[in-house]
Symmetry: C2
Subunit: 411 residues, 2 copies
């Protein structure tokens, strides 16, 4: 069995197969281009200097050792479902009896001019680090220019969970400015959240959305609805109505798409490039190939591209392979909604749980903290994240985690 992608879905599939191990004999190979698995829901904490990249990146080989799985570092460039072989970027071929494709999704700029060049995404460890260093660079440049300088404006594009969490945390960073950056007037630093529609956090219930909006505004985030970006420049964004916003930094959190390279695999793709699967998560017309996570979509039951659907589809794919290996038929996948959460800042979060339970404020924030720390892979990562987030929220403004800031533009 070959699993491509060591994200939530790929690891869940490997875990399901490892669990079936005594009864089902199979050799599992996990392929990923990175030697670590990224815990994407906390990348915005890395981008804002609250967590180390090492806190949200778990070594795949550590996972492989614990689950009796082989790890192979590489990028899949071709999938031949008939010959049952995947080809890696170094030219080597890996045979499979069953295949799970779970390479996830990446930022989608929707073809907006300048977006790819001038905005920062937040889906990989490296993107989070780049963004962190750019944020600090923008603040240092504002400090050099002094209290009468132009300051800095950050535009966050997209009012989904990623955009809201990023904007909320940036607003908290700004609140610490008078201490850390006395040369910069806090009013000279703007955090603008630009949402295309007329609601933030669309999948949440109205009262939770209203709470989130209130909390963001209370923290000084300028929330703009019905705002469609027409172009991203080096220090501005231009809107569809022709007006422009200043933007020393633009964070693009407006949507995801499957990587372009997936098209070369020759599998059926739907909206956003997602690979079309049947009810049992097998790729349409392919008996031995499963797809899971952000990469996959059952057109009859589309799911949001979040952690829970990825974990559950990955686990289901792994279980179905275990069934096929013991000559049992596959079963259809049923998504179990365990709820959704988003955090706005210190002691402010929203949680929409099953059975109509809805939480806001400190309780929701503690629930968010607990769930995220428990879900991390590896006890060192859990302990380190607990430590760093405690520092961030208890001793705020405590020591930020900073890196090399990029060369000042026009310096």
């Amino acid at each position: 069995v070959v699993i491509v992608g060591a994200g939530f879905a790929g690891l869940a599939a490997a875990r399901a197969l490892a669990k079936a191990a005594p009864d089902v004999e199979c050799k599992v190979t996990l392929i990923d281009r990175h030697v670590y698995s990224t815990f994407q829901p906390l990348l915005y904490q890395v981008a804002t200097g609250g967590l180390n990249p090492g806190d949200v990146a778990y070594p795949v080989r550590g996972f492989a050792v614990r689950h009796g799985v082989r790890y192979r570092q590489g990028t899949v460039v071709d999938v031949d479902a008939d010959k049952r072989v995947v080809t890696l970027d170094d030219g080597s071929a890996v045979d499979f009896d069953y295949l799970v494709l779970a390479v996830g999704a990446h930022v989608n700029y929707f073809g907006v001019p300048g977006a790819a060049e001038h905005s920062a995404a937040l889906y990989t460890r490296k993107e989070a680090l780049t963004l962190r260093d750019e944020i600090m660079g923008a603040l240092e440049r504002a400090a050099r220019a002094g209290p009468d300088g132009p300051g800095a404006a950050v535009v966050v594009v997209g009012g989904g969970p990623t955009g809201v969490e990023m904007a909320g945390t940036l607003a908290e960073l700004r609140a610490a400015l008078p201490v850390a950056f006395p040369e910069v007037r806090p009013t000279a630093v703007r955090v603008i959240l630009a949402e295309q529609g007329d609601e933030l956090l669309a999948p949440f219930r109205p009262e939770l959305r209203a709470y989130a909006l209130r909390e963001l505004q209370r923290r000084g985030v300028e929330v703009r609805f019905s705002t469609t970006i027409a172009e991203v420049g080096e220090d501005f964004v231009r809107l569809h109505d022709g007006s422009t916003l200043p933007a020393q930094l633009t964070v693009w959190a407006a949507g995801v798409a499957v990587p372009d390279a997936v098209a070369a695999w020759g599998l059926p793709q739907g909206r956003g490039g997602r690979i079309l699967v049947g009810h049992d998560l097998r790729v349409q017309h392919h008996d031995r190939v499963f797809a899971a996570g952000d990469l996959a979509m059952d057109p009859d039951h589309p799911l949001p591209q979040l952690a829970q659907p990825a974990i559950q589809t990955g686990r289901h794919a792994g279980r179905q392979i275990a069934r096929l290996l013991t000559a049992l038929p596959t079963q259809p996948f049923h998504y179990r909604d365990k709820g959704t959460m988003a955090t706005i800042g210190r002691r402010a979060a929203i949680a929409q749980l099953p059975l109509g339970v809805r939480l806001t404020g400190t309780v929701a924030w503690l629930a968010w903290l607990t769930v995220h720390i428990v879900s991390l892979l590896g006890s060192r990562n859990r302990a380190s994240t607990l430590l760093n987030l405690s520092w961030r929220y208890l001793y705020w403004p405590g020591g930020l985690i900073v890196g090399d800031i990029p060369e000042a533009e026009g310096g």
Copy 2:
């Protein structure tokens, strides 16, 4: 007062001036090209995946806030001692009444061909990260090649504390290979420590040197004396006797020199480019300019380029400026030897303390651990380092901290 460089010496000077603050009125500006201060003695832990870069990098602005100091991000390109002004890379000028120069030293390749291109240094946060990712890349390439592949050899050049600590930790990484990299035969991974002279850790007493050599060899490090490097290639080093060693990776820990840019400042320089200072640490022929740390040298009392001399000279420079500001004459600097330590690996270290106290083994290792954790800046860094080093040594081989490995060569 302007302090250039936020390393051990620069921070010690700032701290000394802050301490004198109620009696001595002065405005202190700290200039550094990085927004963090690096704790260099633990960089080899970052390079071997035991610590996060954030654990050994403390934000300069956090320090500045606590000590009532201004921070200015930038690189000094010119010093005009007569006009009392330093010029930064962005063209701006900073005036001073008194100046402390403490930009430290950097790797010295001694003009060995290929060394700058094909070997890794270990003096900055970025170098440590690059080396870490290259180590993991070399292991992944060895894993791809399988048990019959060529394996990997690491040559560490220089038998001083940095070289010994790096070689010892690499040997411990190798001991974990059978678990994490089952595709690689441990005997196919070689750690070679190449020393030009006939002794490791020259400043230590003979019995401590003998212990260190024994411990390194017991861990499988190939220690080679009288080995002078003539050339460094992509996957080999050539020695002066014409023979070559395989070296998928070369770590250059053979010596330091003052950055080339310092020559442009027009100050008197001695061996290794170090700025020549008088007994009170004022730069020769300059009344208002002090130099401290690795950058400075009193030709009558040369000191090793280590943390303790840097801290003590920096503090002395700060105190002398406080004296000059209150119209007192300067005092000569006297170095107080507090001892030296080096660690070879888990529960193996050497410590040479005052009054003839010499420690080896677990006791020395615990002393090393305690001193280094206590010396770190910031309580978050201390807690995080304690956590991560505990994990490394208690739960070995636990979760390594890994990053993006560079593109495979010839892939």
